[in-house]
């Protein structure tokens, strides 16, 4: 019995539905499909697509907070040109964003695999240890970053207290300890450190899931062939978690590159605008400096990088499915 025939029979058996035109429309997969898509489509159109377009338009104007509509002027690419040519902070911001993303992603990746391998062979206290290791990724980022703000405090840093004790215990004399957030390079390193702290559990738990899909037979076969622990890691473990690695890296690069909270809480972009990322600089220009058009332009500079990463992900997924 073909599908069409069955549907026709059913419709005939049910005069209630057949008699009601609206209800019978709902039995058609296309009509029902569009109807069910409507809520999500509404939200995405009005609160994602439209604001994105609006943001592009804003970035082409001189719009400021509280400016009357009659004064808002279309100025073409002037904001972008100003940022690239005359703005002193923009290039520092761009450089920081790439350094922050590059270094943090690399270290999170390495630590994440290491931690996943450790967690994978654990037997005792398994659930408790996994939950504990996950905490940094789970709790609200600003709240945990406040703890780091106090850990990096210029006067009362616990790291510096420990360093001081260690130096005098070794008989090396007095050491003040570095100003973790007061020096441009050190501040960027501190911010990157907190990002690594927060992101490593996400890598580890995802890789752990990947490790558990690798068949034990592969390890046994490798062991029979005389492979050492490292060889097994390179030739069995790493290829085994490759699919999930791509997803995790793409997701993590996007989140890290567009990060806001850690820098906002720890340095607000300081000292002297040396630790801004695109997001925090956009916030400073638009919300503190009131220049909405220019701020929109700053945040749109993230777009090409995000688009490249997303396109790579889509191509990769398509190739895997084929």
């Amino acid at each position: 019995m073909s599908k069409e025939l069955r549907a026709a029979d059913l419709a005939a058996d049910r005069p209630r539905v057949a008699g009601n035109f609206a209800l019978s429309l709902l039995e058609r997969p296309d009509v029902l499909g569009y109807l069910l898509m409507l809520p999500a489509a509404f939200i995405i159109f009005f609160f994602v697509a439209y604001p994105f377009g609006w943001g592009v338009w804003m970035s082409l104007t001189n719009k400021q907070v509280g400016m009357a509509w009659s004064q808002v002027k279309f100025i073409g690419l002037q904001n972008y040109v100003d940022l690239v040519t005359t703005d002193g902070v923009f290039w520092i911001t761009a450089w920081n964003s790439f350094v922050y993303t590059g270094i943090a992603t690399l270290i999170k990746w390495i630590l994440g695999i290491w931690l996943a391998v450790l967690l994978n062979r654990m037997i005792r206290f398994q659930r408790v240890i996994r939950a504990a290791v996950l905490l940094p990724w789970i709790v609200p980022t600003v709240l945990s970053t406040i703890a780091f703000l106090w850990i990096f405090d210029p006067d009362f840093s616990v790291i510096n207290w420990t360093l001081r004790r260690f130096y005098s215990w070794m008989g090396w004399g007095y050491v003040r300890g570095p100003l973790w957030l007061g020096d441009p390079t050190l501040a960027l390193a501190s911010v990157t450190f907190v990002n690594i702290w927060r992101g490593t559990p996400f890598y580890a738990i995802s890789f752990l899931a990947g490790l558990q899909t690798i068949s034990p037979d592969l390890y046994e076969a490798a062991a029979i062939d005389g492979a050492t622990g490292w060889q097994r890691f390179w030739h069995v473990t790493l290829p085994g978690i490759k699919p999930i690695t791509v997803v995790v890296l793409v997701f993590s690069i996007i989140v890290t590159f567009s990060d806001f909270q850690i820098v906002y809480v720890l340095t607000r972009g300081g000292p002297a605008n040396s630790t801004h990322l695109f997001a925090t600089y956009a916030y400073q220009v638009a919300m503190i400096g009131s220049r909405l058009g220019l701020g929109a332009a700053v945040s749109l500079f993230m777009f090409p990088v995000l688009a490249l990463v997303i396109i790579y992900q889509l191509i990769y997924l398509r190739r895997e499915q084929a």
Binding site: L23, P29, L32, G33, L36, P39, A40, I43, I44, F47, V48, P51, F52, W54, G55, M58, L118, R121, I123, I129, V133, L134, L135, P136, I138, V139, P140, V142, L143, I146, A147, L149, W150, I151, W161, W197, P201, G210, L211, I214, P216, A223, P243, I244, V247, F251, V255, S258, F260, Q261, F278, A279, Y283, A286, M287, A296, S299, L300, V309, I310
Partner: protein
């Protein structure tokens, strides 16, 4: 896994396995220990560079003294250990922020779950023109970060034509904004979940005379309850953790959420109320952490399911 620990010497296990794991745990947990210790120290201890900062001396002595003499003195405990907690709960708007956070998180989760269920069902079950393109659009939206949209979105939400008053500075601004990242997340998670439910169950119900919508509501949704629950929990925690929109869209102290309230109201210029900040950070983290740790296995399962395609 085939890497059996049997046959390895204790020294090797210690160096290769136990020590690294210990340092990972230390690395992960130290900031939380630091929150706790700072929140139960007196202000005097906090700002004394000579005493050992790792131990809350006054509080520890109070507890040890009471334990030794087997006498419980609540007010001494309150003064020496929970002074900052009391200040936070009594003298700041923390509880108000908590209520705002819960309200925003619950309402935006419900909205997102509804939109997520309908779309996910359509994508998983119905064949119609444009379904593939729509799935792609949702996937891309999932990857768009809030930092790309917050400036124009505040403009858009401030000028919504449907509402008579400006939504900015009210919880509704966040309830409108949060579904932008929650809906794609729910669709992604639930589409995978619906695909694991056998089609035959619905088809049998429809042969017995149920309409497609009846089959969806009576057959598929009850079977999808675990998936719905984990989607709801993740949506809830994602909205409770959100910071940027809450920072930009809300100005009045009384309307803030916990993350924004703690950061902006307990730091006044150069004055940091460290005890209260740490109590707030701890109290704001605990509920989310508890919810998450119960559901994280589902998240991982969903993630690997998505990867396996």
């Amino acid at each position: 896994m085939a890497q059996s620990p049997v046959g390895e010497s204790f020294a090797k296990r210690l160096i290769v396995y136990h020590l690294p794991l210990f340092f990972f745990l230390l690395f992960a947990l130290f900031p939380f220990y630091w929150m706790l210790v700072t929140s139960i120290k007196s202000t005097h201890e906090t700002y004394n560079r000579e005493v050992n900062p790792y131990v809350p001396v006054a509080c520890a002595q109070t507890i040890a003294g009471q334990a030794r003499s087997l006498s419980f003195n609540g007010s001494a405990l309150m003064e020496n250990c929970f002074y900052h907690w009391r200040t936070l709960l009594r003298d700041t708007l923390f509880l108000r922020w908590l209520r705002n956070t819960l309200f925003v998180a619950i309402v935006s989760t419900l909205i997102s779950l509804f939109a997520g269920v309908t779309s996910a069902y359509a994508l998983a079950r119905l064949r119609f023109r444009g379904a593939g393109a729509f799935g792609l659009l949702i996937f891309i939206t999932y990857l768009v970060p809030p930092t790309l949209l917050f400036i124009p979105l505040s403009d858009v939400i401030g000028n919504l034509p449907l509402f008579h008053r400006n939504l900015l500075n009210s919880p509704w601004a966040l309830i409108v904004a949060y579904p932008t990242f929650l809906v794609p997340f729910c669709v992604w998670l639930l589409t995978g979940y619906f695909r694991t439910i056998p089609k035959e169950l619905e088809e049998a119900a429809m042969i017995d005379g149920a309409t497609r919508i009846q089959a969806m509501i009576r057959i598929v949704l009850p079977l999808a309850v675990p998936g719905l629950l984990s989607a709801a929990m993740f949506a809830f925690t994602l909205s409770a953790n959100e910071f940027l929109y809450a920072l930009v869209f809300i100005y009045d102290n009384a309307n803030k959420t916990v993350p924004v309230g703690v950061v902006s109201e307990l730091i006044k210029g150069d004055v940091f109320y460290w005890g209260e900040l740490m109590s707030g950070a701890l109290l704001g983290s605990v509920p989310v952490a508890l919810i998450y740790s119960f559901f994280v296995e589902h998240y991982v399962a969903g993630m690997t399911g998505a990867v396996k395609g």
